[in-house]
C-alpha cells in the first residue's frame, strides 16, 4: 500500500468489513466494473488523432515532486513539469542555470513532495496564468508559468515544517498560503533546542501569506501569523460574502508528539481556523507586526538571462494573534478534519473530519453572527473558540467512511471523496441530502472538478485520484502506477467514463479549459532578447576562453550541427563549461547536448535559449558530444569532439568548425 493516510490498524482492519456492509446496504451499486461503465463511455472520452482535449488537467506528482499535465477527457499525459525534483532529462537542477531554483537555506535540495496544485485566480475564477504547488518536505511554494509550463519561481517558507496546508489562493491571487503541518520550536538556537516532550510549552505553528508579483511572478512573504502548536492540514480562501477570510483545518489539538495515530485522535473535535486576512494585511501595512528570524530563499527564473536568481531574506514579518483580537477564531470540527473547502457561493465552509461519520457544513453568516455576539465556548491557547452549534449550517449524516475532500459543481452540489469506503458521494449543499454515490478504484484521496474549488466551477467531470491501484492495470511487479478515474457529472447520476494510470502520486489536481491557457502560449524564446552572459547569438560569436582552470565554450546549435564541433587544448584538471545556445527560432525544435562521462546529466535547450553543462574530464583522449533530441534527417551527424590532453600539455586552446568555404 502506498502512503496510507490512515494507518490505524483498527480502522483499516474494519474498513474491509464496512466496505462490504456498505455494498450490501446499497443494492443499486453496480457489482462489476463492466456494469459501472456506460456503453458510450469510449466515445465520450475519445479525442480523435490531431484533435485537442477540452481541459488541461494539472496533477501533482506527490512524491515525484513534479506536476504532470494531462488532457481531459482523454486522460492523455501531455507533459511532466520538473518543479521540486531534479530532472536529468531536461537538465533541470543539473544545468548551471537551473541549480539556483532548488537552492534553500539548507543548500541545494534535489527533491520534494508536491501535493496541491492551485491555479491563479482573477475574481475568484482560475485565469490560466499560473499554477502554484507546495513542497511539503522542505517547506516551499513553486509558481509554474502556464505560458511556458515551466517553474518560474520557488520560495522557501521559514518557521514551518511540512508545508502541507498550501498553496491555496485568494480570489485575485493577492496571496497564496502556507500552513505548517508540523508545529516546531522556533526562534534562536537555544529556543529551538528543547526536549520534544515540551511540545505544549514550546512548539508553535505558523500560517504564512505569500505575495506573488503580478508582473514577474517573484514571490515574497507578506506576513506570517503565529499560532498555537497544532497540525495544519488544508485550507481554502473565502469568496463572495466570505472574501477576506481564510479557513484552515487543524488536527492534533491534543498537542501529541508521539504515537500520533492514537494520541492525536483523542478529542471529538478539532478545529477549522478562520483567519481575517484583510485585517492581517492592514496590520502588516501599519507596521504592527514584528520582524523575527526567518531566513529564506526566494528563487526566480529570469527568462531573459535564462537563469535562476536567488534572493536571501534574513527575517519575516510575524503577527501575534494574541496582540490582535479579531484576527483568528477556531470553529470546532469533528474529528481530525482534513479537507477544508468553501462552496462557490462563499456561504459555506465544509470540514471533512476524516475520522468522523458525518460532514459538518459551517455557515459563514452564522460565524459572523457568533463573532458579533461573542458566542464562545472558551478559548484554545488564547484564541477564541466559537460554539459548534452556533456556526453550523448542518451535518451530512452518514455520507460514507473517511470523508477527505470536497469539490463543487455550479448547481449547488458537492462531491466528497471517501477514503475508507472508497467512493465519491454527491450531496446538496443547501439540503445536505445525499444524492448519489459511485465506487472508486481504490481508496480515493483528493478529487477534482474543473474549477471545483473556485467561484465558478466548469463542472462536467469529477476525477478521482486514488491511493491504491492493485488490479486496475497489467501488473508491473511490486510497484504499480497509481490510478485516476474520470466520471461525468452532467446528469443526476455520476457515470464512470475512463480510468488512467498516473505518474508519481496523483495527490491533488486542478483543471481549466484549454482556451483560457492557450492565448499565453510561448513557442520559443526570441534570440534577440537572450541576455545570458555566455550566449552566442549566431555562430560568429562562438568561441572558447580559458579563465585559469575554467574553460568556457560558447557553442550554438541549429539543425543539424554544433559550432564549434572541434575543441582542442582542454587539459586534465580543467572544468569545462559548455554554454549552448539554440539558434532555432521555431516551435518544437529543442536540441540536446550530452557528453561522454558527464557526471550530472544532459541539456535540452529550447529555441533561443542558452543552457550550461559543467563537465570535468577524467582521462586523456578525444571525447565525443552529440545531440540527443532527434532534430532532423541529419540528427545522427550532429556531433562534436573535445580533445583532452595531460595537465602539462602545451596544446593551444582552440575551437572551430571547418568552413565549407575553407578554400575561399
Amino acid at each position: 500500500m502506498k502512503r496510507p493516510l490512515l494507518t490505524s490498524s483498527l480502522l483499516l482492519g474494519a474498513a474491509g468489513a464496512l466496505f462490504l456492509l456498505f455494498n450490501s446496504l446499497q443494492g443499486c451499486r453496480p457489482r462489476t466494473v463492466e456494469a459501472a461503465v456506460g456503453g458510450d463511455a469510449a466515445s465520450r472520452t475519445y479525442v480523435k488523432p490531431g484533435a485537442y482535449d477540452e481541459f488541461y488537467n494539472l496533477v501533482s506528482g506527490g512524491f515525484s515532486g513534479q506536476v504532470a499535465v494531462y488532457g481531459l477527457p482523454s486522460g492523455r499525459l501531455l507533459r511532466e513539469i520538473p518543479v521540486f525534483s531534479v530532472d536529468p532529462e531536461s537538465g533541470y537542477g543539473y544545468s548551471e542555470e537551473t541549480k539556483g531554483m532548488l537552492s534553500t537555506t539548507q543548500g541545494f535540495i534535489p527533491w520534494d513532495d508536491s501535493h496541491h496544485p492551485e491555479l491563479s485566480q482573477t475574481d475568484g475564477v482560475p485565469d490560466g496564468k499560473w499554477c502554484f504547488i507546495n513542497g511539503n518536505n522542505t517547506p516551499r511554494i513553486a509558481l509554474i508559468d502556464l505560458g511556458t509550463f515551466r517553474t518560474a519561481s520557488i520560495i522557501e517558507i521559514p518557521n514551518s515544517a511540512g508545508n502541507h496546508s498550501s498553496p491555496f489562493t485568494t480570489g485575485n491571487s493577492e496571496y497564496v498560503v502556507a500552513g505548517t503541518r508540523f508545529s516546531i520550536p522556533m526562534g534562536d538556537e537555544s529556543s529551538r533546542d528543547v526536549p520534544i516532550k515540551t511540545y505544549k510549552e514550546n512548539f508553535k505553528g505558523t500560517v504564512s501569506f505569500i505575495h506573488p508579483d503580478p508582473e514577474t511572478g517573484k514571490m515574497n512573504i507578506a506576513f506570517q501569523i503565529k499560532t498555537p502548536g497544532v497540525n495544519f492540514d488544508l485550507s481554502h480562501a473565502g469568496k463572495g460574502p466570505s472574501e477576506g477570510w481564510f479557513f484552515f483545518s487543524c488536527y492534533n489539538t491534543e498537542q501529541a508528539y508521539s504515537l500520533m495515530e492514537v494520541n492525536s485522535s483523542q478529542r471529538d473535535k478539532d478545529f477549522i481556523m478562520a483567519v481575517n486576512w484583510r485585517m492581517a494585511e492592514q496590520l502588516a501595512r501599519e507596521g504592527k507586526g514584528k520582524r523575527v528570524p526567518g531566513k529564506h530563499h526566494s528563487n526566480w527564473w529570469n527568462h531573459h538571462t535564462h537563469s535562476a536568481e536567488s534572493t536571501v531574506y534574513e527575517d519575516v514579518l510575524q503577527l501575534d494573534p494574541k496582540e490582535h483580537p479579531g484576527l483568528l477564531y477556531f470553529m470546532p470540527c469533528p474529528k481530525s478534519p482534513h479537507g477544508c473547502d468553501v462552496d462557490p457561493s462563499g456561504k459555506y465552509i465544509i470540514g471533512s473530519g476524516k475520522l468522523a461519520a458525518l460532514i459538518p457544513v459551517f455557515s459563514f453568516e452564522k460565524m459572523k453572527a457568533a463573532i458579533a455576539a461573542n458566542d464562545l465556548e472558551g478559548d484554545y491557547d488564547g484564541i477564541p473558540v466559537l460554539k459548534y452549534e452556533s456556526v453550523l449550517h448542518g451535518e451530512v449524516k452518514k455520507p460514507g467512511l473517511g470523508p477527505l475532500h470536497t469539490e463543487f459543481d455550479a448547481n449547488g452540489n458537492a462531491y466528497t471523496s471517501m477514503f475508507v469506503s472508497s467512493e465519491i458521494v454527491k450531496w446538496n449543499v443547501q439540503s445536505l441530502e445525499v444524492l448519489d454515490r459511485v465506487p472508486t478504484y481504490y481508496s480515493i484521496g483528493h478529487l477534482m472538478v474543473p474549477g471545483g474549488d473556485s467561484k465558478k466551477p466548469w463542472g462536467k467531470y469529477v476525477v478521482a485520484y486514488n491511493k491504491i491501484t492493485k488490479d486496475r492495470y497489467l501488473p508491473t511487479g511490486p510497484e504499480l502506477s497509481q490510478s485516476a478515474q474520470l466520471y461525468s457529472i452532467e446528469g443526476d447520476k455520476m457515470e464512470l467514463l475512463l480510468d488512467f494510470p498516473t505518474t508519481g502520486e496523483p495527490h491533488y489536481a486542478q483543471a481549466i479549459p484549454a482556451d483560457l491557457v492557450r492565448p499565453r502560449e510561448v513557442k520559443f524564446f526570441k534570440i534577440e532578447e537572450n541576455q545570458h552572459p555566455y550566449a552566442a547569438k549566431g555562430e560568429k560569436e562562438t568561441r572558447v576562453e580559458r579563465k585559469g582552470k575554467e574553460v568556457h565554450i560558447y557553442m550554438t546549435t541549429i539543425r543539424s550541427h554544433f559550432a564549434p564541433d572541434n575543441v582542442e587544448g582542454v587539459k586534465l584538471g580543467d572544468e569545462v563549461y559548455f554554454h549552448v545556445t539554440n539558434l532555432e527560432q521555431d516551435w518544437d525544435v529543442p536540441h540536446g547536448f550530452a557528453i561522454k562521462g558527464a557526471q550530472n546529466a544532459e541539456l535540452l535547450i529550447m529555441p533561443g535559449e542558452t543552457q550550461t553543462l559543467k563537465w570535468v574530464p577524467g582521462r586523456v583522449g578525444v571525447v565525443p558530444y552529440y545531440c540527443t533530441d532527434f532534430c532532423s534527417a541529419l540528427h545522427q551527424e550532429m556531433q562534436g569532439y573535445v580533445r583532452v590532453s595531460p595537465a602539462n600539455s602545451t596544446v593551444p586552446l582552440t575551437a572551430y568548425t571547418v568552413s565549407v568555404d575553407a578554400e575561399l
Binding site: I527, H561, Q585, A633
Partner: protein, 157 residues
C-alpha cells in the same frame, strides 16, 4: 513548369493546396509534406503566415542597394541564418548565398524567409531544395523588415 510560372502560380497553389488538404479524406491525393511534418488538424490560433499573403514581384520594388539596410541585414543574418548558409557558394545545410539574388527572384527569397512552411508545402523549387538538403528550412521568425534587410544584404554578396 519554369520558375517564373511557378512563382505566378504560388498564390493559387497555396489556396488550392489548403482546400485539398481540408477535403482529403483518404483519397489518392499526393501529399507534398514530408512524413512527420503534417499540418495540425486544428489550426494554430496564432499562426503568423496566412499563405494568401505570399509575396509577388509587385510587392518588392528594388532600387540600388541600400547599404544601411544591408548592414542591418548582415547583423540579423549572423544571428539567425549563417549557421546554415555560408556567404560563399557552398552549402552548409542550406545553399550558400554568394550570387543567390541572381539565381532566385527576390519574392521567392522573401517567401522562403517569411513564409517558410507554406513554401515547403507548395512550391516545387522549395521542395527540390528540401530533397537536396534533407533538413526543412526553419522559420527563424524574421519580420518583413528584417527579411527585407537580409535580402538587401544578399544583394551585396
Amino acid at each position: 513548369m519554369n520558375n517564373a510560372q511557378a512563382r505566378k502560380s504560388i498564390s493559387r497553389l497555396v489556396v488550392w493546396g489548403m482546400v485539398l488538404t481540408m477535403v482529403a479524406c483518404g483519397g489518392s491525393e499526393k501529399r507534398t509534406t514530408p512524413p512527420g511534418t503534417t499540418a495540425p488538424a486544428v489550426p494554430e490560433p496564432n499562426a503568423t503566415t496566412p499563405a494568401k499573403e505570399l509575396y509577388t514581384a509587385a510587392d518588392l520594388a528594388l532600387a540600388d542597394v541600400d547599404q544601411g539596410m544591408a548592414a542591418k541585414g548582415k547583423a540579423t543574418s549572423e544571428m539567425k541564418c549563417t549557421a546554415c548558409h555560408s556567404m560563399g557558394e557552398n552549402r552548409i545545410v542550406g545553399p550558400g548565398w554568394k550570387g543567390i539574388t541572381t539565381k532566385r527572384e527576390p519574392a521567392w527569397i522573401m517567401n522562403m524567409i517569411v513564409h517558410t512552411d507554406a513554401m515547403l508545402e507548395t512550391d516545387p523549387e522549395a521542395q527540390k531544395m528540401l530533397e537536396e538538403c534533407l533538413v526543412r528550412m526553419p522559420n527563424q521568425n524574421l519580420s518583413h523588415d528584417e527579411a527585407r534587410e537580409v535580402l538587401e544584404y544578399m544583394r551585396t554578396l
